[in-house]
Point group: C2
Chain length 199, copies 2
């Protein structure tokens, strides 16, 4: 029996375009019977290596203005809510640590959708442990235990290793999709990456 095709989905919880992919990747991958490997990482660490202190959407204001309008138009076409969180980008460290526990324990997909929806549909502060606790409780998980596990040195190390792995895979933005040796960048490449995984 042939192995089921896989796609690695690399995203940062603060990334606007990752929101678009998070809200559609599960349905698209199901249609194509492709397994998603969820890979939350810290894009800020990669930006810092490029000499950027914040998102390029803040460093280059015209680019930032168009990103917001682009997201508004795309969210409307796709029937998604869209509200920019303030500040942007949100500090995504705690969400990424919780997500690292979620990868290990198998609830990362539901947690990821909950965080992105809270952040970009309602403008919630994802650096706030209470917000993340709410997302975890909505999916019937023990928030107290998980938030403690998120701060363990084991989890912190696992997240650092994953971000190092992203750098090793030449990832420079989010969302990114990896299929074998092929790297695809951006929500606009999600369909192409899935076709690549199928072929």
């Amino acid at each position: 029996m042939a192995e089921r095709p896989r796609i690695e989905f690399w995203y940062d919880f603060a990334s606007t375009y990752s929101y678009l992919s998070v809200m559609r990747i599960t349905a698209l991958a199901q249609v194509h019977d492709i397994r998603i490997e969820w890979r939350p990482f810290l894009l800020g660490a990669i930006f810092a290596r490029q000499g950027w202190s914040t998102s390029p959407f803040n460093l280059y204001p015209a680019k930032g203005r168009n990103m917001m309008r682009d997201l508004e138009r795309l969210a409307q076409e796709r029937g998604l809510g869209f509200r920019m969180p303030d500040p942007f980008p949100q500090n995504s460290l705690l969400a990424a640590r919780v997500g690292t526990v979620g990868v290990e324990e198998g609830w990362i997909a539901d947690f990821t959708r909950g965080v992105f929806q809270a952040e970009f549909a309602t403008g919630a502060q994802i650096s706030d442990p209470q917000v993340l606790a709410g997302v975890l409780e909505d999916i019937h998980l023990d928030a107290k235990r998980i938030l403690a596990a998120a701060q363990s040195s084991e989890t912190k190390d696992a997240l650092r290793r994953r971000t190092d792995e992203a750098i090793a895979k030449d990832i420079y933005g989010a969302p990114s999709f990896v299929v074998g040796q092929e790297l695809f960048w951006g929500d606009d490449r999600l369909e192409q990456a899935l076709r690549w995984a199928e072929s």
Copy 2:
């Protein structure tokens, strides 16, 4: 009678992703009966204002590597040749000046396709007046007269004004599409921009 809808197509002759749009915009706009207003400009002037001395694809090597692979994949899907010119980016000043004459005289579409095809399908040097003369002759134009007109102070001023107009429209990359007050960035947004023009 309703006015025929229009789309402004802003591009730089050195831009890889503009190549993708140049090779398909005419056919797509015809299907939708939309008039294309060709707007060659100098993206380098905008990059310089952002503190960049060259293309971000050179400044950020991982981004540059993925751009090349992305272009290869897309060109293959679309049946286009693709070869990166060396050096990249090409100096597009002379091509933009000739293009400015072409906008005035009505042969900009054919000239633009010829230049992009020479540059990205065969790797030709578009800063070389002989290469541009070849493109002009292929479309039965008087290369000598046009290359002289391209260097007139009138043409140089018109190109400067167009680049200033791009900045005023908040353009920060190429290709860009403008429909009324709406700015769309990137070949990936061409279809959406055309739908916007139609509606």
